[in-house]
Subunit: 164 residues, 2 copies
DNA sequence: ATAAACATTCAATAAGTTTTGAAAGTATAA
DNA sequence: TTATACTTTCAAAACTTATTGAATGTTTAT
C-alpha cells in the first residue's frame, strides 16, 4: 500500500470512529493528521492537506485544544501558530475519558438524583424509583472507575490488564 | 416532584445521553420508557406515550431488539406484540459494550492492521507506522478488556471495583 | 500610524439524519 | 376467501449539525 493511500484510509477511519464517539468528523480527521505527523502543522497546512475551509479548521483546532489532546506550539521567527498532537496513546485515552465523564456521566447522575425525589406511593412510582436508583448506583460505580482510570498512570493500567 | 414530570425528565435525559452514544434520541427514549415500566408495552402504547409516529416507533423498537436490550413478548389472547426492556443494568451495560465493540473497535483494528502494510522507508512512513502500531496495540488491549467484561458476570465486576 | 499576516466569527448554505404517515405487506380469524 | 388487526417500508418533509468563506478582529513589524 502507498503511503498516501494509507494516510487517507487512516484519516478517514479515524473520522468515522470519531462520529460514533461524539467527536465530529472534521475534528477527528484533523486529530488523525496531527497524530501521524511528528512535526507541528499550521492551520494553513491542515487546510491544504484535508481540503477544509479556514473556518472549519480553526474551529475544530480550538475544540481539540479544549479537549486537551492537541497543543499550540510557537516557532521562533514564525508568526503563525502551529499545532501538535500528543503522541502518547495512553494520555489520549485518559483525556478523552475525562472529557466524556464530564460531559456525559455527570449530567445523567444529576438527573437521576433529581428524579429520585418523585412523590407518591403508587405502583408506577415505586417501579420508577427502583429503576432509577439502580441506574444511579451503577452510574456512580462507572464514575468511580473512570475517576481512578483518569488519575492513574499507564503502569497501573497495564498491571490491571495482567490481572484480568 | 410529580411522577409525570420525573418521567418526562428521565426520558428526556436518556434521549440526550443516547445521542452522545451513537444511539438516536427516539431509540433511547423508547428504551427509557420501557425501562421504567414493569409490564410490557405495545407499539401503540409507546406511540401514545411518547407522541411518536408509528414508523418511528416500529423502526426503533427493531433497533432495540437488534441491540439485544429489549425483548418481544407475546400475550395469550392478544394479537399484537408487546415489548419489554431487560431491567438488569449490569446486563444492559454488557450488551451495549458488546455491540459497541463490534461496531467500533473491530473496524478500527481492521483498518490499523491494513495500513500497517504501507511501503517505503521515508521519515513520514516510519512515523506513520510507529503511530498506527501504537494505536493498534492499545486497541487490542481495550478489545481484550471489553471481551473479558462481556464474558464476565456481575460479581466479577463488583470484585474488580473493590480492588481499584 | 499603517500595513501585513494571521486568527476568529458568524450568517448563509450544504449535508446528513431523523421523523412522518400513507401505502403496501403479512398474519390471523371468521 | 375476505375482512380485520397489526407490522413494515419508504419517499418526502422536518429537523439538526457541519461547513463555508467573506467580513471582522487582533497582533506584530516597520
Amino acid at each position: 500500500m502507498e503511503y498516501t493511500e494509507a494516510k487517507q484510509k487512516f484519516i478517514q477511519a479515524w473520522g468515522t470512529l470519531g462520529s460514533s464517539w461524539g467527536i465530529n468528523k472534521a475534528m477527528a480527521q484533523i486529530h488523525a493528521l496531527l497524530l501521524i505527523k511528528e512535526e507541528s502543522l499550521s492551520a494553513e497546512e491542515v487546510m491544504e492537506e484535508l481540503q477544509m475551509s479556514r473556518g472549519n479548521v480553526n474551529m475544530n483546532l480550538r475544540a481539540l485544544l479544549d479537549w486537551g489532546i492537541v497543543e499550540k506550539v510557537s516557532k521562533i521567527g514564525e508568526r503563525k501558530e502551529f499545532f501538535i498532537a500528543n503522541k502518547d496513546v495512553w494520555e489520549l485515552a485518559r483525556q478523552v475519558s475525562k472529557e466524556r465523564r464530564r460531559r456525559e456521566i455527570e449530567p445523567i447522575i444529576k438527573v437521576l438524583e433529581q428524579v429520585q425525589g418523585v412523590e407518591g406511593t403508587g405502583k408506577d412510582v415505586k417501579e420508577f424509583k427502583a429503576m432509577t436508583k439502580e441506574l444511579k448506583d451503577f452510574s456512580y460505580k462507572v464514575d468511580d472507575v473512570l475517576e481512578k482510570f483518569i488519575k492513574s498512570d499507564q503502569n497501573w493500567f497495564y498491571k490491571l490488564l495482567m490481572k484480568l
